[in-house]
Amino acid sequence: MTALVRSYGDRSLRSLVDLDRGLVSREIYVNEDIYKMELEQVYTRAWLFIGHESQVPNPGDFVVSRMGEEEVILVRDRKNELHVFLNTCRHRGMKVCRYDDGNTLVFTCPFHGWSYDTDGRLVGVPYYDAAYKGDMDKSEWGLPEVAQMCNYYGSVWATWDKGAPSFEDYLGPYADMARRVFQSTDGEDNGVELFNPVYKWRIPCNWKFPGFSFDGDRAHGAMTHRSINVAAIGPQGDANGGNRSPLLAPFPYTDYEMTVPELGHGGHNAIYDQPGVAPYKDTWFTEPGIDDYYREQREKKREKYKDKYIVGETAHIWPNVNIQPHRILIWHPHSAGVTESWRAYPIDRMAPQFVKDAQRRYMMRYGGPCGLTESDDMENWNYASAASTGTVAKRFPYNFMMGAGHAFKDEEGAPGMTLNYEVAEENQRSRLRRWLEFMEAGSWEDIYPVNPVSPSAGQAVKAERGTV
C-alpha cells in the first residue's frame, strides 16, 4: 500500500471511489498494490464460500477449495465433523494435498513426510523420537484451521477472522434467501447436492469485474446476450422468443435491483404481490419427462409456502460469490489481472438420474467456460480489463451513475433492503461501498455492526415504494 500512496500523492482509496458522483477510478481494478491489499483486508476477513457438504459425504472425504489466492481443504474427519484447513505443511510449506478430491486417512506431506489426521492434528513426524527427543510438541503444529466455519443448510462457508460476525449476521436480510437457494425444488432444506466436478478456469480480468457486476448489471443483458436468445439454448427451445431462462407462470410481482448496501449483498430480486409460489409452467419441451418431475416438486413447494411472501431467489454474497437455485458462481482472485472462476451446480439430491442429466446439460450450455452466456460475459470483462490498464486509459473513471440518488426502501415488501429500478447500478455501488469500508477498516470492529447508509452516498432513501 505504501507504493500506492507514493504514486498517488494525496489520492486516498476514498478519492478513487467517489460514490456521491458515481465515479470509480480504473486503478482499483488494475493496480497491483491495491490487489495485494485486498487479499489482506477483504479475503482474510470476509466469509467465503468453501463448498457443499454433499462433496464430502463420508468420513475421510475431502475436496480442495480456495480462500482468496490460497488453497484450503474441506474435509470430513473420522468423527464426521467438517473442517477447513490451509493446504500447507507446517514444516516447510509443501501442499499436503495435491488432489482435487478424494478420501484419505491422513494428509501426508510428500516433502519430509509430516502427516496430519483428517481433524488437522499432526500425528506423524519422521524420526520424531530419535531426532526431536521430545523437544517439539506435535499438538502445537497441526494444520492451520479457519477461525470460523459455518454449515449453512448444507453449504459451507468460512472466514480467517475470529472477530467476524456469525455467518447468519453477515448475511443479514439475505439469510432467508440464501437458505432457500440450498433447498430442493420442493422447498425442503438441505435438499441439494453439487454436480462433481466443479468447473474451474482462469480469465484475464480482475476479480471485481465479474464479482461486482454479476447479478447487479441488468443493463448489459439486452446487448451482450442477444445472440444467446437467438440461439435458443433454454430447455424450451425457441418458445418465448428463445429466451434462455425457463418459462414462468403468471404471478404478480415487480422486479427490482435489491441490495443491502451496509453489507454489500444484493441481486436482481422480485417482490411478489401475493403470498405463495407461482404454479409451474411447462418448459422442458426438448427433454420428455422433466416437466413431470418439476411440476410435482413445485406443487409441494406451493403447499409449503402458501402463506409466505417470498422475496427473490438469488443473492450475491459479498465479496465474490453469487448463489442461485441451480448454480453457484465464485470468482477467486488469482492476481491483479487474473480471476479463477469456479462454477458449482446444485441439483435436487433425490431427483431421478434423467432429471439430473438434463439439468446438467442445460447448465453446461448456459454457463461455465463453454457455456454460451458466460462466454459473452467473459469477452466483456476480459477486454474491458485489457483496455483499462493503459496510462491514458486510467485517467478516465468508470461511470456508475445509473440510478444513483433514486434508491428507496420498502420495509413491508423487502425488510432491510434498499431498492432501485430493475435496471440500475445500485448493487454495483453497494459492493464498491462495502469494498471501501473493508479496505479502510483496521478490524471487524470498524465495519460491524454496520453504519446506516448515508443518503449522500448515492443511496437516497425515499419513503414510498414505486417512486422510481
Partner: protein, 87 residues
C-alpha cells in the same frame, strides 16, 4: 574438502537408508490390514490401517521388549522404520 556438515549429512542419509538397504524393498503401500511388521526399534506391530501414501502405516504394537508399556498401543510407523514384513 569435506566439512563437518557434509559428514553430518552423509551420516544422516546413511541412517535413513540403512534400513531400506539392509533388506529387500518393502512396498508399504501394498501392505493390507492385519499384516505384521518388524520396526527398526525392535518392536513388532500389526497394520491396522494403511493410508497408502507410501510414507506411513497405522499400527498396533504387539511386542516391545525395550518398553513393554507400549504393547497394545496404537501408533504410526514411518516407511524407513519398517524393516521387515513378518506376516
Amino acid at each position: 574438502m569435506s566439512t563437518a556438515s557434509d559428514a553430518e549429512e552423509t551420516k544422516s542419509e546413511a541412517i535413513a537408508d540403512s534400513a531400506v538397504r539392509s533388506k529387500k524393498v518393502i512396498m508399504i503401500t501394498d501392505l493390507p490390514e492385519g499384516s505384521q511388521v518388524r520396526l527398526r526399534n525392535g518392536q513388532i506391530a500389526e497394520v491396522t490401517a494403511n493410508p497408502r501414501d507410501g510414507g506411513w502405516l497405522f499400527v498396533k504394537i504387539l511386542e516391545s521388549d525395550a518398553d513393554p508399556s507400549r504393547v497394545g498401543t496404537d501408533d504410526m510407523a514411518f516407511c524407513v522404520d519398517v524393516i521387515d514384513v513378518i506376516k
